[in-house]
């Protein structure tokens, strides 16, 4: 730990690695970095560096390792699961200054970027030529590509276009010993194991991406959007199922319940009706005749499923406003509650109505309001548990409600996270979804890259897991057989 070593020596070596102005170690400077988007938990890092290239990242990693400091990587710090939360005595490597677009290759539909590039800036750089980058998390105006890679971020349009893992094809990776490796391939498939699949979504546990090659896509010829309101989430859920059953693959289908609509209206001033039980926001995109057909069919299905009103934006500006309403939903909830806790669970699409009813019962039982805004097309729920931190015990109860919601998701065959990651926040729920042997196997992947577990320790895995020697056939130790110890 850094406290037990010569602090001045650590700072000196870090400054040598990244340059004097790019190393922070004064408590007042470190405070900014005490947490990420999961603001309820704070840990002050021992030091922060803001490197500007791969070599500096590698040098900083080597310094940290020399002094036995754990390493936590961080992008924009917008993550909601505490993935970039510092750990005691750590070196926090902040990649936000590595924000250059290095190359745009329209012929091969590829773009090479540094990890600190903001998600939306990738699209902005190529939009004029009619191209875009598909993954679009709601935080896309502030979150970074490096963070997106760590979390395998999705967004509304991943229903049709897939997740970050489908859109990042190669990367430069700094390993936990400072070694730099190139993974992935500029061709359709690289040789050997798919290391990109191990890196994307690994939540900073296997290495630090210092450059990434992403796929870019041609902007669809036409996008049609509708906003439909329903008496309750039941009809809205049926509508989603029926659209999918009709063979339509929308680009996005978002659902908001009454409370979420209320918050969005208060925060953004969109003219959505307040006397409805649920709303859907749907995009279909592609070649024009196909889109006109599917949009008309989707509207017809919405009406048949009991929609109160179906609105089509009259122009791009109105469409953008509708989406702005949806994408500002989390922040908007701040207008109707002093505090809220964002959850991120997944359920099979066909179970939406039943799960929402269970969440409503839970909400009533615990006396805490829950607003639901979510990616209905792929069953990715974002329940927002509203509470007042000034009321003793409410924050704790909100967390418990959040945890119960995850258990409901697992019970219906879903997952504890669709896009926010496990991080610090959900590590304790991994056991609901995976057995010890499952987690041990995932740990093989981690240990392949970082046998000393120096990178982002304490995240993802519910209990500390050793890498140890290359494992032989599993034989339980006597203490395990006696139930006194666990392999972890």
């Amino acid at each position: 730990m850094v406290q037990t070593v010569d602090r001045a020596a650590v700072v000196r070596d870090l400054e040598e690695a990244v340059g004097r102005g790019n190393c922070l170690s004064e408590p007042s400077d470190l405070r900014t970095y005490e947490c990420d988007g999961l603001t309820g938990v704070r840990v002050r890092p021992a030091a922060v560096v803001l490197p500007s290239d791969t070599a500096q990242v590698a040098a900083a990693v080597r310094v940290a390792r020399r002094y036995g400091m754990p390493i936590v990587p961080r992008g924009s710090g917008t993550g909601l699961s505490g993935g970039a939360l510092p750990v005691e005595g750590c070196l926090l490597i902040v990649l936000s200054r590595m924000n250059r677009i290095l190359d745009v290759d329209f012929d091969n539909l590829r773009m090479r970027v540094q990890p600190g590039v903001i998600n939306l800036d990738v699209t902005r750089a190529i939009a004029a030529r009619g191209y875009y980058y598909a993954p679009d998390p709601s935080s896309q105006s502030v979150c970074s590509i490096g963070g997106n890679i760590a979390e395998n971020s999705g967004g509304a349009h991943c229903l049709k276009y897939g997740f970050t893992v489908n859109h990042v094809v190669a990367a430069t990776l700094v390993l936990s010993d400072g070694e730099v490796v190139e993974i992935g391939s500029p061709a359709a498939d690289g040789l050997g194991y798919d290391l990109m699949a191990a890196v994307v979504g690994s939540e900073g546990l296997v290495g630090i991406v210092t450059e990434a090659v992403v796929r870019i896509l041609r902007t669809p010829e036409l996008t049609r959007t509708f906003f439909a309101t329903f008496p309750s989430t039941d009809e809205a859920g049926t509508c989603v199922s029926d659209i999918v059953a009709a063979g339509i693959v929308p680009a996005a289908v978002e659902m908001m319940d009454a409370l979420a609509i209320e918050a969005i209206v208060k925060a953004t001033g969109v003219d959505w009706p307040l006397d409805v039980g649920a709303a859907l926001l749907l995009d279909v995109d592609g070649p024009s005749a196909e889109v006109e057909h599917t949009a008309a069919a989707a509207v017809e299905i919405a009406r048949r499923s009991g929609a109160i009103d179906v609105r089509m934006p009259k122009d791009d500006a109105e469409r953008a406003l509708m989406w702005k309403g949806r994408k500002s939903a989390f922040a908007a909830v701040g207008r109707i509650s002093p505090n809220y806790y964002v959850q991120d669970g997944v359920i099979p699409r066909s179970e939406i109505s039943r799960v929402l009813r269970e969440i409503a019962e839970l909400s009533a039982r615990e006396g805490l309001r829950v607003a639901n805004v979510f990616h209905a097309g792929d069953g990715n729920l974002h329940p927002l548990v509203l509470y007042d931190a000034r009321v003793a015990g409410e924050e704790h109860r909100a967390e418990l409600v959040g945890g119960e919601i995850l258990k409901i998701c697992v019970r219906y065959g879903g997952s504890i996270t669709g896009e926010h990651g496990v991080g610090t926040d959900k590590a304790i729920y991994m056991g609901e979804l995976f057995s010890d042997a499952d987690l041990e196997t995932m740990n093989y992947v981690r240990c392949t890259f970082d046998p000393e577990r120096a990178l982002n320790p304490g995240k993802v895995f519910p209990t500390p897991r050793l890498c140890g020697d290359i494992p032989g056939a599993y034989a339980p130790h006597a203490t395990e057989r006696a139930g006194l110890a666990d392999r972890g």
Partner: protein, 399 residues
């Protein structure tokens, strides 16, 4: 006596269920036995010959549909189910796995996952890597584990499903696979252009992109001195008609005449004709924009050396399948090595897809130059299979 790429197999076993498969692998671990896996056997020629096979585990009885939820468009199947059998089940609900490969009657889902096999519809739907959402594995020690899940959107834990895609059975046995499905299209239109040049392929592919058409597949097959170019459009009636028409206009602009074929079978037949031909089969991948240059520098010399060879190109993906009867060892060795060197220089690679014949595998290496990240791959293998018993010696770098 059964063999795999020339290596004799000690014993063969076909477990009746996954529990039995797990017990067999646990017993093999105890005895230190080297294990190989086989599904439909369509790709057993891919990879180096195994160092040793004490036990060949066949998955033919592990062919159940574990869970199919049409409303969620997800299916979980045991690894041994043949692709065509699965498609039949799905078609009854108007759905499909968006994967098209040769020998679909035989090829098992587990084998396809192990080899990451794909067809021309990859242009639109990606490979199994993009379609897999969950997996259950039987580890080298016989332990059954799971990764991913049965919902499409899921980031809990490391992505074991995608990591085993393309791992050639060297990390663990794939026991069940959970897959994302797509609707069967209402209609399809297959359009063929004859007598295309290599530069036509590039201009057509670029034109399709500029016109923002979204073909489900693009395929060019060498015929005589030129190519037949196929474009497949899928979806709803109005959209498909519009796209096929726009494509015909685009073709006319290049002086090519579009011919509408009756159904999509022409595409699959043309693809399969190349990919199942001959005894020397190579697959090249280069950045798509380098394809035309690769065609001239890499493929033309190969075609000159083997005039009876066949060639299929996926122009938007930068992928080429080349097949021939290898008439003599010298030209097979030198031709393949030269074409591979060109592909590697462009940042791509070349695979020998079938190393069943001993003289071919002696003449042509399976994978070519090791990537810089190979040490990491070796470590991954050691973590999953510390004694190196699963498909021993078959994979990249003889892992």
């Amino acid at each position: 006596m059964a063999t795999i790429a020339g290596t004799e197999v000690g014993a063969t076993v076909a477990p009746a269920d996954l529990g039995e498969a797990s017990a067999i692998l646990a017993a093999a671990a105890e005895e230190g036995g080297a294990v190989a896996f086989a599904g439909g056997g369509t790709e057993l020629g891919f990879g180096y010959p195994p160092d040793r096979v004490d036990l060949l585990l066949r998955t033919e009885h592990l062919a159940r549909v574990v869970e199919y939820a049409p409303a969620d468009m997800v299916v979980e199947v045991e690894a041994g189910i043949p692709l065509a059998a699965l498609q039949k089940v799905l078609a009854a609900s108007g759905q499909r796995l968006a994967l098209d490969v040769p020998h679909a009657e035989l090829a098992s889902i587990g084998g396809l996952v192990a080899c990451n096999t794909f067809g021309p519809r990859r242009a639109r739907f990606g490979t199994l890597r993009d379609l897999i959402v969950g997996v259950s594995l039987i580890r080298a020690d016989g332990t059954r584990v799971r990764g991913g899940g049965k919902v499409v959107k899921n980031v809990a834990g490391f992505d074991l499903p995608k990591i085993v895609v393309g791992s050639l059975g060297t990390l663990a046995m794939v026991a069940t696979v959970t897959l994302r499905l797509h609707p069967l299209p209402e209609t399809v239109a297959l359009v063929r252009l004859e007598h295309c040049s290599a530069s036509h392929l590039r201009r057509l592919t670029a034109g399709i992109r500029e016109a923002r058409l979204e073909p489900a597949a693009l395929l060019a097959v060498a015929v005589g001195r030129g190519y037949d170019f196929f474009a497949l459009f899928e979806g709803f009636e109005a959209g498909v008609a519009q796209q096929a028409e726009r494509f015909a206009v685009l073709a006319a602009g290049l002086g090519l005449e579009a011919e509408a074929l009756e159904n999509e079978r022409g595409l699959d037949a043309a693809d399969e004709d190349v990919r199942t031909y001959g005894d020397l089969r190579l697959r090249f991948a280069v950045p798509p924009a380098s394809l035309e240059r690769f065609e001239i520098e890499g493929l033309e010399p190969l075609i000159r050396a083997f005039p009876a060879s066949k060639l299929a190109i996926y122009p938007s993906l930068g992928v080429a399948f080349w097949s021939a009867y290898a008439t003599d060892r010298e030209s097979a060795a030198s031709g393949a090595a030269a074409a591979r060197a060109v592909a590697e220089r462009m940042g791509g690679n070349a695979l020998l897809l079938d190393a069943r014949d001993s003289w071919i595998r002696d003449a042509v290496d399976v994978f070519g130059t090791l990537p810089g990240a190979f040490p990491l791959m070796k470590r991954l293998k050691e973590r999953f299979d510390p004694d190196g018993r699963l498909n021993r010696g078959r994979f990249l770098g003889r892992l």
